[in-house]
Structure formats: C-alpha cells, structure tokens
Symmetry: C2
Subunit: 234 residues, 2 copies
C-alpha cells in the first residue's frame, strides 16, 4: 500500500479531537457555500456547536492558529482538516448488505463528497445480483475477496441484519480489510489492528429525549413532583 | 403535557456527558445480556470505549458512585441512566420521508427497544399511502397535524431529500413538535426552544479514514516522506 498522506505519524491527536474534525469540516463547508472566506473562532465554534476555547485547542493540534484580528481562512482550514483526516484522497469502500439501509447508504451523497467511493455493493441473496443501485451493480458476497484486491479496499461497511454481521466482519478481516463501519445492531469481535466504528441510529434520539424530558419538567417546575427515590413516572 | 420524570429540573448535566449516557446504556445492556450482574468502572469504561476517570465523573452527575470493592450493579445503573435520559417512558415518534432511509428507520429495532414508538410514517408522495412498513401504514404528509395531536408526539424524524427538509421542519415546528432528528443532508433553521440533532452518516467513516491513514503511514514510517508544507499526497 502506498503512503496515503505526508502527515507525521508520530504526532497523535486526541480521539475526542479526531471525532470533532469532521464536524468542523462540515461547518466550514457550509460557511464556504454561503460565500464566507474568513471566520473567527467564535463563528466557527457556533457553526460547529462547540465552545470556542475547545475549537482553538483542537485546531492547534493541526498547527492552525488563525490570524489575529482576521481569523481563519475558510478554504485553507478546510484543506488542512481534510488532509489531516485523510479525505483529500480517494477511499474505495464496499457496502455489504443491500436491504433498505444498504440502498440508502449507496445513495447517500455525503460519502462521495468526502472522498469515499463506493466501488461495490454485495449481498448474500443471489436474487439481488445485477440490480443497479446508485449506478453500481449488486454482486454476490462471494466476490468480496476479488473486489477488495482489485480496488485496494481498506474500509468495509456492514449493513446486514445483526445475525450476519460477525460472519461478514470475519470474512472482511480475513482478506485484509482493516476498518469496518458497522450499522448492524450487534457488537463485533475483531483482532487488534482492525478499527470498528458502530453507528447507532438511536443515540441521537436518546439525546433528544433527554432534552425533551427536561423541557416537560421545566414547564412543570412549579408543580409538586415525587422524590427520585420513589421511582417517579418511570 | 404530564411530567415525564421525577428528576430535579434544576440539576444540569454537561452536554458531553448527556451524549455519553446512551453509550453507557448500550454497554450495560450488552453486559446484562451476557449475564453479568456487577461491573467495575474499568470494565464498563472499556465496554463503552471511554477512560474510567471520565466514566466515574459522568456517573457522579447521576449520583451513582458504585460500591467499593464491588463496583456497579448493572441492572440498577441501567435503570438510573435510562430514567435520567427519559427512555424508561414511552416516546411517540413520527418519521417523515419513506424512501430507502425511511424504510430502514421504520424497521430499525433499536428505536423500539429504547422507548421510541413509531406511531406514524408520512410521505408527500400519494402513491406510497397505505403501504405497510414494519406494521405501520404510510399516510399522506397532510395528516401530520392530526397525528401529532392524537398521539401527543414531541419528536419528529426527517428522512426526506435535502430539498424538502426545511419545509417539513417548519411544518413540524408550527404544529408543536419541539425535537427534530434530521437525517437529510441539510442544515435546518428552527426557532429557539426547538432542539435539532443531525445524523451525518459520513462522520464515522471519516474517523475510520483518519486511523486508516495513520496505519498506512505507520507501516511506512521508515520510508522518506515529503514535509507537510509541500502538500504531500493530497
């Protein structure tokens, strides 16, 4: 595999900062789309939904400090963050499991615009083979190995039912995939050196529920409420 | 609206802690599913992918400190967190936009198991009306107001194309929905007091790309690389 960037491999960015870089990138893209060329750390922090001290600290890991009285150059900062994440390059991706979620992911515009190119859609159900989704033909799962080698695929996306996810992950790992994005509602076991990220579609809904509950409580703050120890409404 | 919990509305939990509570809940559920009854903060921190000092600090906001030498009671801590988030109660939810993603969300088992009950599926396309998805009939978008009032819906999910998302959000807000989960790739403008969470399916993929890039660099650390200022592989 060829070197995928020139960043210093010895410089480690905290994981929490890594997780926020895509959010900054999205906010900068939104600013650029409205014609904004420079922004203060406060503007960018507001757009990204973080506090500005945290934003400045995060960007300092990239060697980005802005210019006093001017702020950050939007296009240059976008480039710096995209390069740091690695999305200035091309990432071939395979999606396994072409049910409703797999269809939705294949059609998702946000992958291609960030450098992720869906090179193959795979499904164990032979009746789906040959169906064209977002310009890509569905192929039998058995062809995974050939596809991964042909396209130098490093990232696999699992959108199968929970019951199939571990088998798919095992097969991916066996043929050299080292990063897996798991949409299936199951916990995957993988060897060291393989990164797995899990997307749980209910997490954001739970965060909304927390705030919704507080709004309901706030509106009734004057009313008597049972003490917590009684178990209350739950 | 009735009070949805007995927690003290004056006690504010930091937003970053709120965002981790669903992750702890998921980890505790996984531990309980394997028959584990008590766990140390280190065990739970590992299962949730955070460091144990942060976990203990987060749980201290809930008044949970575990028992010295024993750790946390898994079932009781699950209950405490679920109550704090508000997912011990029933949250009626509507999903608007029943394309592939809407279908996938309607079928998603992780919503119902956390207290989110999909009471209606709505789409502007009249040809979809009457289709049954996961046991729920698709209804015309025009019926949103009646459904929200009948079921006391506080949370709306938008799974439409980007071009329709703001109109849907405006209509939701006008009829009293105060929390919106937005899957459309667009930024929504809503009045104060309405919470919007956005799910960006590419964020996790970008985090994987960052690590994948570092693995590629690490494997080639002995090879000469161009200095960052030259722009490198990007």
């Amino acid at each position: 595999m060829t070197a995928r960037s020139s960043t210093d491999p010895a410089r480690v960015i905290p994981e929490a900062t890594v997780a926020r870089l895509p959010v900054y990138l999205r906010a900068l893209t939104a600013l650029a789309d409205t014609g904004i060329r420079t922004c203060s750390s406060e503007d960018l922090a507001t757009a990204a939904g973080v506090n500005s001290a945290k934003l400045r600290k995060d960007l300092s890991y990239l060697g980005s400090y802005g210019t006093r009285g001017v702020g950050y150059d939007v296009d240059y900062l976008r480039y710096q963050i995209a390069r740091e994440i690695g999305v200035t390059q091309d990432w071939p991706v395979v999606i396994v499991g072409i049910g409703n979620l797999g269809h939705a992911l294949a059609n998702y515009s946000g992958f291609r615009s960030r450098g992720f190119r869906v090179v193959a859609l795979l499904d164990a159900d032979p009746s789906l083979s040959g169906e064209i989704v977002a310009g890509v033909a569905v192929r039998p799962f058995d062809e995974l190995e050939a596809i991964v080698h042909d396209h130098d695929v490093a990232i696999g996306v699992i959108a199968t039912p929970a019951s199939a996810a571990q088998d798919v992950a095992d097969r991916m790992v066996a043929i050299g995939i080292t990063s897996i994005l798991n949409f299936a509602p199951s916990v995957l076991s993988v060897p060291e050196g393989v990164d797995v990220r899990k997307v749980d579609l209910s997490i954001e809904l739970q965060i909304l529920a927390y705030h919704e509950q507080r709004k309901a409580n706030g509106a009734e703050a004057a009313a008597p409420v049972a003490p917590v120890a009684d178990g209350g409404a739950a």
